[in-house]
Structures are given as C-alpha cells and as structure tokens.
Symmetry: C2
C-alpha cells in the first residue's frame, strides 16, 4: 500500500479524498493531511491532520505528496522539498506551475521521482497527458482552446441571458465560477499561463509571456458584439499557440467563432482544447474546467499514471520531427 | 531496437510506415511485411515483402506484430498465432475485434503479451486508452457518440448540400468515405460493433448485440427530416450505451440533435464520443474517424503504449465502483 501525504483540505482536496475512496485498486491511502488552520471542524478524524509540513516531508514512509493548497509560493516549496526527499508529487496549482515553468523544466533532470500536474490546465481534461502520450508520436502544429472557465461563463451568460458584462461577472462570482478578485481571469492572463504550460509540453520550448498577444474580454467594443449577433457568431476568449520557424507564437484574445468551429458549442464553465497533429489532424477535447470532483478526476488520474511509472518526457520537439 | 512484422500494406499500413519513420525515439523498425499479392510494384525494397506469414510468425527476432489487413478471418488467426508465439500485437481490424470480442476477452488471461486495438474504434481518437486509463478511476455512467464516419458524412452532406440520400451515398463512396458495399455502415451495424467494443472496456461486460436497438439511417420518415429543419436540429446516427441495474443497454439510431449538444457540430467524416464519468462529468473527444495518417496515429500510439508496458486491464467495473 502506497502512502500519500496530502497538502490542503479545500474543495479539490475533498474531491480527491472521495475519489481515492472509490479506487481501492490503486493500493494507495492518505495517511496525513497538512492544513494551515488546525482548529477547523472537519469531516475526518483529527488524527489525519497536522499543521506541521515536516510530518509529511520528513516521513520516509510517505511515498507520494499530493499538493492542493491555494498559496502558490508555499506550494512550490512543498513540491521541491518533496521531490528532494524522493517522493513523487501530484499538484493542481496552476499559478505555481505557470510562474515556475522554467525552473520546473529543470527538475526533471535533478530529481528522480515523477512530478505530474495535469489538473493545473483545463480542469478535468487530461490534456498534458494527451500531449505527452498520444501526441508524443506526432509534430504538433497548433493548439487552440478555451482555457478559462470564468471568462467563458461570463461570455456565455451575456449572450444566452442578455446580461451586461458586470451582471454576468457578478453571477459567475456568486456561483463560484469566478474569483472575488477576477483580474487574473478576465485579463486573459490565467488562460495565457495555461497556454505557456501546454506550449512547453507540446513543443519542448519555454514561451516568453511578455511576447504574447494578450487582450482582455473587458475591452471589447460595441461593433464586436454587433458583428457576432449579426453573423450568428459567438465571442469566445481563445488561447492559441503555433510553432513556426523555430518560434512560438502565443495569443489570448476574444474572437468571433462561427458555427462549425469545434469551439462554437463550448458554453459556460466548460473548457476545450483543439490540438493539431501532423498525423491525426485536429483532435478536440471538451470537459469541465473546474469543480471539486472534475478537478479531482485529473488529480487521481495523475496519481494512477505515476503509480504505473509514467513521467513527463520533457522532449524538445518541433525541429527534429517537423522535418520528417 | 524492437523488430516489427507488419501484415498488410494498404492505406493505413502505408500511413503507419510513414508515422514510424518520424519516430526514431521509439526504437522500433519494420523488418518484414506480409502481403497477399507478392507481384505488385511497391514503393519499398522487395526484400521487405513476403507472402509467407510464417516468415513473421516463426521469426523469434520479431517482437511485435502490427496487423493491418482487410480480411477479418485471416486477421484473427494472425493475432492469435502472434500472441501464442509471445509477440505483442497491435491491430486496427474493427470487424475482427467486434466479431470476436467474447473470445478476445479471454486472451488476456492466456497470453502474456499486450494486444491493443484502439484504431478499431473512432479512427484517430485514442478512446479505448482513455476509457482504460483516465476513466479507469471512475464509474462510467454512459457513452454516446458518432462512431460511423460514412453515415455522418451522408447526413452532413444531405443537410449542408441539399442532397438526397442516394446522392449523398454516391458522393461518400466516390470520396472513399463509404464502402462500395455500404450495408454494414448504413444499417448502423458498424457503429453497433464499435459500441460493443467500447462497452466491454467501459463496463467490463460483454453486450449481446441482438438485444440492442438498431435503426438504419435509410428508414427515416419525412416528418423526421421536417422536424429537424423546423427546429434547427441536425439528424445524427447516435450510438449510446448505459449501464443500469447490472444491465447494459445499447442502441444505435438516428436522433435529432439540438444546438448546445456536444455532438451538434460534428460533421462529415469526423467521429466523436462523449463519456460520462462519476467524477469528471461528461468529457467529449472529437477527431477524424478514418484516413491513412489519422488511423496510423492511433496505431503508432498503441505501439508506443505497448513499448511502455501498457496493457488493457479487462477489469469488471460498474458493480463495485457504482456503490461508492
């Protein structure tokens, strides 16, 4: 039986606990949960909980760390220390991964254990696994997707329920689909962060965020809404990356999407990603971008993958495959 | 370097040859190709080809057999002999897999090597892998999809180009999207075959085809077309399986699909599958259902998976997970 140390006991962590309960075949159990506040009433026995990270990090019996806290600075330390202690790690911390992708790309050579983080991009959709595995045999030519559920929720409800931007934002916040401070989401930066992560796995190169084209959904002009309405199009915040002549080109911007487009029907909190490979052509993945159990489904998939020996390959691609 | 014996050198096999060429990192090479007709002019050196299957089956140096012939009876013998000789096998033969799924389910216990066949269902989409791996940690509640590209091509072109059924069928045949004998496709039986394969992997139970509801796209009445047109709906041949009270319920029939449905935008030769898991919710996969390189992308993914030690689990599901 593999022993798991869990950091955090919020919405996703509770989902993960529940998901693990229905998966006895994984032969893994949570033995300790490290939380910030030790005085809350919780639905598990007190003996599970600690506020002392070293009770997990320094316990040689713990094989795997699952990191599901909010604080991205603390999360990075937890992941690095865990890897240094020879523990495999699963994380869902999109901000931590995105902020540190350059450094994380080097950990692969330094630490022997796997570090998987598919839940950090597009919630339930196992897109990093798909890029690493299925598209590992192909040149990826482009990635295009709806990577921010808050923006998509706002844009869907503006259109379907004739709300103003502010009304739609408030509704999204009330339902938990947007943060109380929504700047990271509506600026498009969250989607760009995720695109940088995907680009790294798809092309083996680290993109420079400051060179990306980034447009917020707050700056759309009236003609844009009218154009969409007049042509039966929908406005979606689309993240796109292409690799051309050794250069990554990233953009995140509101776009007019027509019927027949793979992303046309993707509404509200859903995420979607179209990956174009030189063998398969375009393949599209649609699923829930957030939520307790959906995000936990990606976390437990990572757990299952690392138990089977799976690791990210961190292969440089593009150049050598493109020429074939 | 792993050695591959290839059976067949038709459209998909040529795609596979090309796909393997761009994947030196797999450390696998085709050393022999068994074909029915030895006298054709081919684009590879004559020394590759044989008409004698034993040159592959009896060669202890050959580790892996890739079976890509049309004849489903011969294909079954090739796969079984290969497994018996301790070779791992990849096949794309949907008719052979579907006709023999009950027996194939037992091979897992008899033979030690992997037998993978993801290209047999939904062309490029790695749906069996996804069901085995990502959904291996979840209860699958339903599967619903467009699994026959010929029917979808016919229905799309009837609608988009105002063709009659016969005109659309002829066009699909001319473009290679439908067989010269299209009965297996347009009766819905091909989609049902694929649904039986998916059901087995999703639920661990073998469905009885004769208990499935099966309706052809040739028997639709006028009111059905009118209803679709009047309500901005589209007609799609939808394959559905649900698992309830220990029973699999399968159906394949033309259905009216509304805007907002995941399958609404899936046109022409594309395939799509929606899988509903108890953790992730519904996840949708869309991709090319046929074609040389797209199908080869699934074949080479299977090759990569078996080289990494992946096997189908053939787990009974439903009962024990459902209760969690």
């Amino acid at each position: 039986m593999k022993k798991i140390g869990l950091f955090g006991y919020g919405v996703v962590a509770k989902g993960f606990y529940q998901a693990l309960k229905q998966n006895a075949h994984l032969n893994a159990e949570i033995v300790k949960i490290c939380v910030k506040n030790g005085n809350k009433n919780r639905d598990l026995d007190d003996s599970y909980f600690t506020t002392d990270a070293s009770e997990i990090l320094d316990d040689p019996e713990i094989d795997i760390v699952v990191e599901l806290i909010d604080d991205s600075i603390a999360a990075k330390d937890i992941v690095r220390f865990s890897l240094a202690k020879g523990k495999a790690v699963v994380s869902a911390n999109k901000k931590m991964i995105a902020d540190n992708i350059t450094e994380i790309a080097t950990w692969h050579d330094v630490y022997s254990q796997a570090f998987l983080y598919d839940a950090a991009v597009a919630g339930s959709i196992p897109i990093i696994q798909t890029i690493e595995q299925f598209f590992g045999q192909q040149d990826i030519q482009s990635i295009r997707g709806i990577l921010n559920g808050s923006c998509n929720y706002i844009l869907s409800s503006m259109r379907q329920h004739s709300l103003t931007f502010d009304e739609a934002l408030k509704k999204a916040q009330a339902l938990g689909y947007a943060e109380s401070n929504p700047v990271l989401d509506i600026s498009g930066e969250d989607a760009l962060n995720k695109l940088v992560i995907l680009s790294y796995h798809a092309f083996g190169h680290l993109a420079k965020k400051e060179e990306a084209r980034l447009e917020s959904i707050t700056n759309m002009e009236d003609w844009f809404y009218k154009a969409a309405a007049n042509n039966n199009q929908k406005i979606k915040l689309i993240a796109t990356v292409k690799y051309k002549n050794g250069q990554l080109k990233l953009k995140v911007q509101p776009e007019l999407v027509s019927e027949g487009d793979e992303l046309y029907g993707v509404e509200f909190e859903s995420n979607a990603i179209c990956v174009e490979g030189n063998l398969s052509g375009v393949q599209t993945y649609i699923g829930k971008g957030a939520g307790s159990l959906p995000t936990a489904s990606a976390v437990i998939n990572d757990l299952s993958l690392l138990l089977s020996g799976f690791k990210y390959q961190h292969r440089k691609r593009g150049s050598q495959l493109m020429s074939a």
